[in-house]
């Protein structure tokens, strides 16, 4: 199903002609470019999420669907921004926070043509809408209709509660561990960390990073607190995830 993507590129000013350049470069370069593209598109999804007042979990679902989609499909074959819009639409349905296509199209249009007037109810609008809906079906098929995702968010919140009981309440209230870990968790969706690690590990890693950033002291027993929370996580796992996160932050400076 190639048709939908062809109608949309006219409105997109941001996506460079990745499809054209892929053949000419090597694999790693292509990969690098893809990563950048994916980063940009995921940034687009995150911004959409905020402007559509979506909760963290549906946004995370959208990103996961996007990453999973492009694990199997090639970036050249499908327009990534269109896929992103459809993933947002689909994620809203999956996580029970339904978003109207009209809103998605409006916000996206404004994202690409900043400061422009809203679209009129004309041919272009209806074509865009058709594209989004058809691409949604495409995404579903590509993912074999496995669209329910388990997220680290629930784990992170429970871990936060348990850890906070170990710490002096005043010290805890002074230290913004909860916000930091939540921010880190949201940000990790820019990359494919979310599909390469289990949700518990991601939750542990973000909490670890947040706690250590502020130097919060926790009691030490036979096990470390993160070991107690999740038995199969290792220090290496944590470190891997943290380094991926740091790479994402670095990429921000390069891509955007």
């Amino acid at each position: 199903m190639d048709a939908p993507s062809s109608r949309y590129p006219a409105a997109l000013n941001r996506a460079p002609g990745i499809a054209g350049r892929r053949e000419s470069c090597g694999e790693t370069e292509a990969d690098a470019r893809n990563t950048k593209t994916h980063f940009r598109v995921c940034r687009f999804i995150m911004e959409l999420g905020v402007k559509l007042c979506m909760r963290s979990v549906p946004v995370a679902t959208a990103c996961v669907l996007y990453h999973r989609f492009f694990k199997r499909a090639s970036v050249g074959a499908y327009e990534p921004y269109l896929v992103a819009m459809s993933c947002v639409y689909l994620a809203g349905k999956v996580e029970e926070q339904h978003i109207r296509t009209r809103d998605i199209i409006n916000v996206s249009h404004r994202y690409f043509n900043s400061g422009s007037c809203p679209l009129e109810c004309d041919k272009e609008f209806w074509e865009l809408r058709d594209s989004v809906v058809q691409c949604e079906l495409l995404v579903l098929r590509q993912l074999n209709f496995h669209v329910s995702v388990e997220h680290p968010h629930k784990y992170l919140l429970h871990y936060l509660l348990s850890v906070s009981s170990l710490v002096n309440r005043h010290a805890w209230s002074r230290t913004p561990v909860a916000e930091t870990s939540w921010a880190l968790l949201r940000d990790c969706y820019h990359g494919d960390t979310c599909i390469r690690h289990t949700p518990q590990h991601i939750a542990i890693a973000t909490l670890y990073l947040a706690i250590n950033s502020y130097g919060v002291e926790l009691p030490v027993g036979e096990k470390e607190w993160w070991q107690a929370l999740c038995d199969d996580v290792t220090k290496e796992d944590i470190d891997t995830i943290i380094s991926e996160l740091l790479q994402l932050y670095d990429m921000e400076a390069k891509c955007i």
Binding site: L157, L161, N168, R169, E179, W182, G215, D239, I242
Partner: protein, 762 residues
């Protein structure tokens, strides 16, 4: 930058972080300020723990966000409600993490004493009861902290004074037994001595735990986290994760939102460490809702334009469809509403048009076309109402129309026309009203006329004394304008003078009945016309009459004519008052006619104000005038005037009654009305004149038959001694003789006065 946080972090990580920080945060001015301070702190503390370079890198890069004071937004919500059953828990309540971490006893003990605070709740088992209190072996925490402390064998004391006694003579300790599970609040902690003091008083609990019941509890009431920890401790295979997955609350679909709320993290303005996703960078107009609104307006406008086009070509049905479509896309779209309103007005559905315009103006009060069209439509509607004789409503509409668009000539013209019409109609009615009393008046006897004159005289004098011209003008005006009108004004002011003016109430009663007859127009007129004059009128009348009233009165000639005029003028008001009074009395006797009573009351109140006040004042003046120089004369005059007034009223009321009866349809009223004035008189006079009282009493007692002459006769009969003159004056009344000479009348009055003179004084 939050200094304390930063310092703490540096001390934790050591100098390597400090160096990395320095490299990364060279541009950050806040950090540069703190550099020296932090340097010093580091040197003092020594080295930190060996650290993770990745973490340090992260901190270094994101220090400006991490340590920014604005970053900390979360506000933890204390105090969860323990649900009655496990299935109802909103999230998974987990056993203390210490348990899973297998923290050593010493460590646990030390952190407990570090973190335990006053107001926390503990659950313990009673180990020992002494006469000064009991000792608890702490089992677990029930609020404030979640710690694994059972095996610490902590002992806490609850002093007997901290146990609220249920009954005054019972020993509170008798309720407790060894091994009872007790929930208590921490009253005091001695961290150094490691002593905990407990209390069972609810006041000892901190705010979040106030709902917990202190005292003996059952095993079932133990906190969930404790019971889970028991099972976890016994079974090492139960890891944190296992238990978490097994908790019912974990599978709550709303658990994320609930916990976010509990922790105080916002999901609508989510935090992010990405520089491009900081919430302040998002503009309101980029959000979906704002764009949608703009878009709806634009789409609706398109439909409206199409609709206007249809309308211009006469295709009204299509035009209406387009407008409705536009309003579906964007409800309350101003242009669509205005266009639809115009179409409605064109079709003739004026009310729908007005609704639409009003709605449009609500949303945008300065819309020129909306105002213009609404003005025109209101004028149109006003004309319709005029046709239906709803003049006042129409007038209101014209005014509104003019307020919207004051350049509209049609509106102005219509407004002027209608005000004229209303005034005319009121005047007509007044004239009609006036004609009736005039007719009745022709049948008056000399006595009646005399009374009238006297009353008027007194009134005028009072007014003159008070405020020269205004009162006369007001009285004149009031008499010329419909009685109801004047009475209405009076009635409005009457409310202020409730205490003093029983008379006024009567007048109002009378007036209100007239008002009902007159309808809206009268009311409008009254309200619009100078109420102040009425007020002045009333005010004036309540003051004592000038002492030399009698003198001027007795001068024939000039004053007579004046009085004649006034009488003519006031006669109507006098009649009104009489009618009021009579209607009052009627109402008082007739329990069925409550409304009419009230009407009459109001009328009477007003009328009595002008008239009764004079009456009232006349008796009052003797009372107030201690020296009593003019007492006798005044009294005479007062009595006469009173009586004449009453008689006049009675006479007037006869005619009035018939007239009134046509409208009110209550035949029994007239006689009742007649009794009324008496009661009203007495009331106004603050129970002064006993004659009146008696008269009234008698009248009130026996009035049932609608025979008009009777009350007069009764009057005369009941108080023969007091008012022999009445009989005399009363008798001629039914015959309706016309006195040939006013002087005769005066003489008669003088006669009465003489007779009544002594008795009048009280």
């Amino acid at each position: 930058m939050d200094r304390d946080l930063l310092r703490h972090c540096l001390l934790y990580h050591g100098p390597s972080l400090f160096n990395t920080l320095k490299c990364e945060q060279t541009e950050n001015p806040d950090f540069q300020e703190l550099l020296s301070e932090l340097d010093k702190a580091l040197h003092e503390s020594g080295f930190g723990e060996p650290n993770n370079p990745l973490v340090e890198q992260f901190i270094a890069r994101k220090a400006d966000i991490l340590f920014s004071p604005a970053w900390k937004t979360a506000k933890v919500k204390e105090g969860d409600e323990e649900p009655e059953e496990e299935a109802a828990e909103p999230y998974a309540v987990m056993p203390p993490l210490e348990l899973f971490m297998e923290v050593s006893q010493e460590e646990r003990r030390s952190i407990l004493y570090r973190d335990l605070e006053k107001g926390d709740v503990v659950v313990g088992r009673i180990s020992n009861i002494r006469d000064y209190g009991f000792f608890l072996k702490v089992v677990c925490m029930a609020g404030g902290l979640k710690r694994d402390i059972e095996d610490l064998e902590l002992s806490a004391l609850c002093h007997i004074s901290e146990i609220p006694s249920h009954r005054s003579h019972d020993d509170p300790l008798s309720y407790f037994q060894i091994n009872d599970l007790v929930r208590a609040g921490v009253k005091d902690i001695d961290r150094y001595e490691e002593k905990i003091t407990l209390s069972l008083r609810p006041a000892s609990l901190s705010h979040s735990w106030k709902h917990l019941k202190l005292g003996v509890i059952t095993r079932e009431e133990l906190p969930v986290q404790y019971s889970r920890s028991i099972s976890a401790a016994s079974n090492t295979a139960e890891t944190y994760e296992c238990i978490l997955g097994g908790c019912h609350g974990y599978h709550n679909p709303c658990v994320v939102d609930y916990l976010l709320d509990k922790l105080g993290v916002s999901d609508t303005q989510p935090p992010s460490m990405m520089r491009g996703l900081q919430s302040k960078l998002f503009k309101e107009e980029d959000f979906a809702a704002a764009i949608r609104k703009k878009q709806s307006t634009s789409w609706a406008l398109k439909c409206v334009r199409a609709g206007v086009d249809h309308f211009k070509h006469g295709r009204h049905v299509e035009a209406m469809n387009e407008y409705n479509k536009a309003l579906e896309i964007d409800t309350n779209n101003v242009e669509a509403l205005v266009a639809r309103g115009a179409l409605y007005a064109n079709k003739g559905s004026i009310m729908k048009a007005i609704t639409d315009f009003e709605l449009a103006l609500e949303n945008s009060p300065d819309h020129r076309n909306a105002k213009k069209y609404l003005c025109q439509t209101l004028v149109e509607r006003g004309k319709q109402l005029e046709g239906q004789e709803k003049l006042v409503t129409a007038e209101g509409l014209y005014r509104r129309a003019l307020s919207l668009d004051d350049s509209n000539p049609e509106a102005k013209e219509a407004l002027n026309k209608i005000t004229d019409t209303i005034q005319k109609s009121i005047r007509l009615r007044e004239e009609a009203l006036a004609k009736e009393p005039v007719k009745a008046k022709s049948g008056e006897t000399s006595a009646e006329k005399l009374r009238k004159i006297l009353k008027e005289e007194k009134r005028m004098k009072k007014k003159r004394k008070r405020s020269s011209s205004s009162s006369s003008t007001s009285s004149t005006r009031s008499s010329s304008s419909p009685h109801s009108q004047s009475s209405r004004k009076r009635s409005k002011k009457k409310k202020k003078k409730e205490r003093r003016s029983e008379h006024a109430s009567k007048r109002q009663r009378r007036i209100s009945s007239r008002e009902s007859r007159k309808g809206e127009e009268g009311k409008c007129e009254k309200s619009r016309k100078g109420r102040e004059e009425e007020e002045e009128d009333d005010e004036v009348e309540w003051f004592p009459a000038p002492p030399n009233t009698s003198a001027t009165f007795l001068n024939s000639g000039g004053p007579v004519f004046g009085m004649m005029n006034e009488e003519g003028v006031d006669g109507k008001s006098a009649k009104d008052r009489i009618c009021q009074l009579y209607s009052l009395s009627a109402a008082s006797e007739d329990e069925d006619s409550e409304s009419s009573y009230r009407e009459n009351k109001r009328r009477d109140r007003k009328e009595s104000k002008t008239r009764k006040c004079t009456l009232g004042h006349s008796p009052e003046s003797p009372r107030w005038n201690k020296d009593g120089v003019n007492m006798g004369k005044e009294r005479k005059i007062d009595d006469d005037s009173k009586r004449s007034g009453i008689d006049e009223k009675q006479k007037l009321s006869q005619s009035e009654q018939s007239w009134k009866n046509n409208f009110t349809g209550s035949a029994s009223r007239p006689p009742e009305n007649r009794t009324r004035p008496d009661s009203s008189i007495s009331k106004t006079f603050d129970g002064g004149r006993y004659q009146i009282k008696e008269w009234e009493g008698f009248q009130a007692a026996g009035q049932v038959t609608p025979v008009k002459p009777r009350p007069e006769e009764q009057c005369s009969a009941s108080i023969p001694g007091k008012r022999p003159g009445n009989a005399e004056t009363n008798n001629p009344r039914p015959k309706k003789e016309l006195p040939a000479n006013l002087l005769d009348i005066f003489n008669q009055i003088a006669q009465f006065e003489k007779e009544k003179g002594g008795k009048a004084k009280k």
